[in-house]
């Protein structure tokens, strides 16, 4: 099974809302608006990746708990393999509170990047793929990996 992945996710953050006690508690609605404005300014943003498509597969498919062989293909809008990129993936569970795992991929044939990704628990996972292309452009993708088996 092969998956094609759409555009990248966004980013965000927080900032201090002000003193919580005494008189300041009357100011909390203002703080919420200010925080929201700041975070909205920080979130989103394009990756400028020129429409590079990422397809991937696992062996075994679907993956099970433990290490799974991961194969990623990067393809340009013209259908050509995107070779010479540096690619790393970060695996996270959909449920918060689980430590992520990381893997650096190596290019075995032009445009195809392989490595082992470790899944520590069954369930829905996603991969955050970060690639630096040969021309210096950076691309990010969120790759969904639903239903990792518990063995």
């Amino acid at each position: 099974m092969t998956s094609v992945v759409p555009a990248a996710g966004n980013t965000g953050g927080v900032r201090r809302a002000g003193s919580p006690a005494g008189r300041a508690w009357r100011a909390w609605p203002v703080a919420v608006i200010a925080l929201a404005a700041l975070l909205s300014a920080c979130s989103g943003g394009g990756t400028g990746d020129g429409g590079v498509a990422a397809t991937f597969r696992f062996d075994p498919q679907p993956p099970s708990v433990g290490k799974a062989h991961f194969e990623l293909r990067l393809v340009s809008p013209q259908g050509e393999a995107v070779a010479g990129a540096t690619v790393a993936v970060e695996a996270n569970m959909n449920h918060a509170g689980m430590q992520p795992t990381f893997a650096d991929l190596s290019e075995d044939v032009p445009g195809r990047y392989v490595g082992d990704v470790e899944f520590t628990m069954g369930g829905d996972w996603f991969l955050l793929m970060n690639a630096t292309l040969a021309d210096g452009r950076k691309i990010e993708r969120k790759l969904d990996v639903p239903g990792v088996r518990s063995k």
Binding site: S64, V65, G66, K67, K151
Partner: protein
């Protein structure tokens, strides 16, 4: 009865591995290597930690490569061999190998050490029982005793309080009955 239970528990301990990793080879000398292997042979994925230390005056070659082969002890399947990944480990060397154990049974694990620079070669074989992942009954029984001890104290306190409240109730009822009798007599 208690003795029978203990014997059964100990017998179970002796024949099977369940729970955390345990050593299967300890300080076994092989040429320049002093070999120790820890195993966590769970059904599904099993893990071996191969630790190599220097043996006396011999220096463990830095380019040591470790292969681990596993096959069912009855030999019905062909061996599967994996290359163990080297990891930093103090002054010695540690190699970690992950292997697939599809079934719960006895398996033979074969450890092969090679050094291209010195031409040294060594092998060691052990039989291990592969068990389902997680803790075994024995482990959980051992780990549960603090909770059982607190629970026993808790039960004792609840029973004591129940008895105390029942005695209080009885006392109140008797006092009320005595009051009623006194007022009736009066």
């Amino acid at each position: 009865m208690l003795g029978l239970v203990l014997v059964l528990l100990l017998a179970s301990l002796a024949s099977a591995h369940e729970g955390p990793p345990y050593p299967v080879i300890v300080d076994e000398p092989h040429g320049p290597w002093l070999l120790t292997v820890w195993a966590d042979p769970d059904v599904g994925r099993g893990t071996f930690w191969v630790q190599l230390e220097e043996d006396g005056s011999h220096r463990a070659p830095a380019d040591t490569v470790v292969h681990v082969s596993v096959m069912p002890a009855d030999g019905r399947l062909d061996p599967v061999t994996v290359l163990a990944d080297p990891e930093a480990w103090g002054s010695g060397q540690k190699h970690v190998a992950y292997v697939d154990f599809p079934t719960r049974e006895f398996w033979t694990a074969h450890f092969v050490l090679d050094s291209a620079s010195t031409g040294e070669h060594a092998e060691s074989v052990v039989n291990i029982e592969v068990t389902p992942p997680g803790y075994g009954t024995i482990d959980l029984l051992i780990y549960s005793w603090p909770f059982v001890a607190i629970g026993a104290l808790w039960i004792h306190a609840i029973r004591k309080r129940t008895r105390m409240l029942a005695a209080e109730r009885l006392e109140q009822e008797e006092a009320a009955a005595a009051d009623a009798a006194a007022s009736h007599d009066g």
